[in-house]
């Protein structure tokens, strides 16, 4: 029983890495899509490009099974995507254009 519990805990720990990183990657991809929709490619090109680069790196890192790093990159990509979206929205509002 003890051995079963230990194996269960170990399996959970080993299995959490991919799950967490994948979830973060999805969040980042959604955020980046929102930014793109908000016109961040044009109005927050720098932030958008950064977010895109971090997301790409996160995916590449996941493929190498380095989930912790991948999570960090994906998290950073999400933040940058949000920032790009906000900036794009702000730029659109100030110019009177609708996204």
């Amino acid at each position: 029983m003890r051995l079963l519990s230990a194996l269960l805990v170990l399996g959970t720990l080993v299995g959490c890495g991919p799950v967490q990183s994948t979830a973060t990657l999805i969040d980042a991809e959604v955020a980046l899509e929102a930014a793109r929709t908000a016109g961040a490619r044009e109005n927050a090109a720098y932030e958008y490009a950064l977010a895109e680069a971090y997301l790409t790196k996160a995916k590449e890192t996941v493929n190498r099974a380095r989930y912790e790093s991948a999570t960090e990159f994906a998290h950073k990509a999400k933040e940058l995507a949000n920032e790009a979206r906000k900036k794009a929205a702000s730029a659109s509002n100030s110019s009177g254009a609708t996204p």
Binding site: Y46, E47, Y48, A49, L50, E52, A53, K57, R66, S69
Partner: protein, 356 residues
């Protein structure tokens, strides 16, 4: 086994060295990224800047995880993009205008020295050591009472203005009669040369140079004593322009210097001539022939000349008008080989030194 261990250690060491260099590269590229940001690359080259910045981060992460190969790949990407970003920023970024802070001009304080204390600084004072008013450029005012331009301190006639007629104009005194001949300059045909009024103030010539002006000289072409200027006729001598020519020789005792009485008549006429020409000065020159020792002859001729002078002085002629020189045999006038010649060489001459 040992060999494998050594290989592993070597690889580990190489890896450390490589990682160190990559970290340096990452640091350098991060500085370039910052520079690109400051240059406006976020607007001009957003994608390049983003790739550069992110790849430097990725390189750091790879180095931290112990993968220098991937780190190197990221650094290469970062380098390419940061270079592009910098290039693109050069033409895109707004011109940065730096408004320099205007410097306040430094005040240079110049100490003005006034040595003479006249209130005019030395630099503007033409007389820095003498006080003077500004209107005279700091130089003392010169007092000139008679207004002739010559300061009183050097004006011998400070109350009478100089007439500036070309005659002693520096003394400050007017010169109504420059030559002092008693004829005022305006009536004097020769204002700077004294002359009698009969000659319109111009000097009268003296052709024969006897000291008697031609207008008073009854014999203007023949020198003669005043008052008539006509030559005196002496039986034994003749007064010429430069000498008194004797018609006979002065006689002395043989080999001695005493004048023989038979020559007194001749010398008395010399005295008469010198009285007739009171300003005449005479050199009595003694000469001998060449017989005997020259030193003795020199001494003898000197003493004979002195004897003549002594005689003339006893007759009232001033010593100041007479000079005795013995030339010995040095100035012969004839050959010393004949008696006649030697007789001519033994002589006493009376040379006129001056008539005035």
């Amino acid at each position: 086994m040992r060999h494998r261990a050594l290989v592993l250690v070597a690889l580990a060491a190489a890896s450390c060295v490589t990682s160190g260099k990559l970290r340096e590269s990452a640091t350098s590229l991060r500085a370039e990224v910052d520079k690109a940001k400051r240059s406006g690359a976020a607007k001009c080259a957003p994608k390049e800047l983003a790739l550069a910045e992110s790849n430097v981060d990725f390189a750091d992460a790879e180095l931290a995880s112990g993968d220098p190969r991937r780190a190197k790949q990221h650094l290469d990407v970062a380098e390419v993009n940061v270079t592009k970003a910098l290039d693109m920023s050069k033409t895109c970024a707004p011109t940065q205008v730096i408004i320099a802070k205007k410097e306040e001009p430094k005040a240079v304080r110049i100490e003005k020295i006034d040595t003479d204390g006249d209130g005019i600084p030395d630099i503007d004072d033409q007389c820095p050591n003498e006080p003077g008013p500004p209107e005279n450029h700091g130089c003392p005012l010169v007092k000139d009472t008679d207004g002739d331009g010559i300061p009183d301190e050097i004006d011998r006639c400070p109350l009478d203005p100089e007439d500036f007629d070309g005659w002693q104009d520096e003394d400050g005194c007017p010169d109504p009669d420059n030559d002092g001949d008693g004829i005022v300059d305006k009536n004097d045909a020769c204002p700077n040369e004294p002359g009698p009024i009969e000659n319109k103030g111009c000097p009268v010539g003296d052709k024969d140079l006897d000291g008697v002006p031609d207008n008073l000289d009854k014999c203007p072409n023949d020198p003669g004593p005043p008052p008539d200027g006509c030559p005196r006729h002496y039986s034994l001598i003749e007064v010429q322009k430069d000498q008194i020519v004797t018609k006979v020789q002065v006689k002395y005792a043989t080999a001695k210097y005493r004048v023989l009485p038979e020559s007194y008549k001749l010398l008395n006429q010399i005295v008469q001539a010198m009285n007739d020409y009171p300003k005449m000065k005479v050199l009595v020159a003694g000469h001998t022939d060449s017989r005997g020792k020259q030193a003795s002859n020199m001494k003898l001729s000197q003493r004979r000349a002195e004897s003549v002078v002594d005689y003339l002085v006893t007759k009232g002629i001033s010593q100041d008008r007479l000079q005795a020189i013995g030339y010995g045999p040095t100035q012969p006038v004839a050959s010393n080989k004949t008696n006649t010649g030697r007789a001519k060489n033994r002589r006493t001459e009376f040379k006129i030194v001056s008539m005035e």
